[in-house]
Symmetry: C2
Subunit: 186 residues, 2 copies
């Protein structure tokens, strides 16, 4: 078997995803998902969130394990730094969504990846959240994502993979476009 | 000391935050922060992200410990479920941001919290990310956050705390309003 015959394997089961696409096209109600998180206040700005169940394919679903996340503010904000800050978690969500997409798109285009890494930088003027200047937004003024990718592909093919991942990324959409959030007290 | 003389303590150092606000009002360049994440592709849709350093108060800063996050897709998407999905991480970011804000605002209003928990539900039609229907967005169609709060306060005071937390939340802003994201390949 020559090099060119080695099947491309990035670990993404594209055949199953294409089957899922076909199945959900025929049964669109199965495509209605609900993702969930629960969060318990610990002390100060420290909280612990848990991810366990979600709804999809018309049924309750459960992760293999329960994932738990501590979040806090850092010591320079007079907090105890028991976890990443919420805004850093938003960067992790974006990074992991785009990176999973890179692997899936590369698999679909039969391009073997060797390594993929990303660095994210989110600029923020904290005059917003501290209430110093009401013209400054609370969130990031902008986010820059930089990929380093080693793959059996030309630079243009690699750029094309990243662009397609952006186009299909749920978290990229969540961050770049508005989403309605309702907050209620029971 | 009677009950009414017990100082309210939610673990948030509001005095330090108010001092920070004063200091940053006088030195606005110190309010320019940069939050960072790095992400390494593991296999398939599994990645590991790391949070360690950030920039703020005019200097490089470092968390007490390095925080690391596995993300993956679940088994029903033919993945190995090694971590929460990226969109669940976005819910965790929102939950933890609003909850830290509830504690800080309650402290500032001298209201003792006894317990705070939140459940988040993010609805999503996965016809978007699967490329079945280009009219369906990739992200959440909407997010519902429900708080259960036990505090020494009236229901209206509790609602007021949550509303103020929303108003000052970085992640609430990031999700409800658009943010520019540039993605580059090195």
């Amino acid at each position: 078997m020559s090099m060119t015959d080695t099947p491309v394997d990035n670990g993404v089961n594209v055949a199953a995803l294409l089957e899922a696409r076909e199945a959900l096209t025929a049964a669109p109600e199965a495509a209605q998902f609900q993702w969930r998180a629960s969060c318990v206040w610990e002390h100060g700005t420290h909280s612990r969130s848990t991810i366990e169940r979600f709804f999809g394919l018309g049924a309750e679903q459960q992760h293999k394990t329960t994932f738990s996340f501590d979040a806090d503010h850092p010591e320079i904000f007079a907090s105890e730094d028991h976890g990443a800050t919420p805004v850093e978690l938003a960067l992790v969500a974006l990074a992991s969504c785009l990176t999973a997409g890179v692997a899936a798109v590369a698999q679909n285009r039969e391009i073997q990846l060797r390594s993929v890494s990303a660095t994210l930088e989110g600029d923020m003027d904290v005059s917003g959240i501290l209430g110093i200047d009401s013209d400054v937004r609370n969130g990031f003024s902008g986010i820059k994502v930089t990929y380093d990718i080693d793959a059996d592909a030309t630079p243009d093919e690699i750029k094309g993979i990243v662009a397609q991942s952006q186009k299909r990324s749920a978290v990229y959409d969540i961050i770049t476009n508005p989403t309605n959030v309702t907050v209620e007290v029971r």
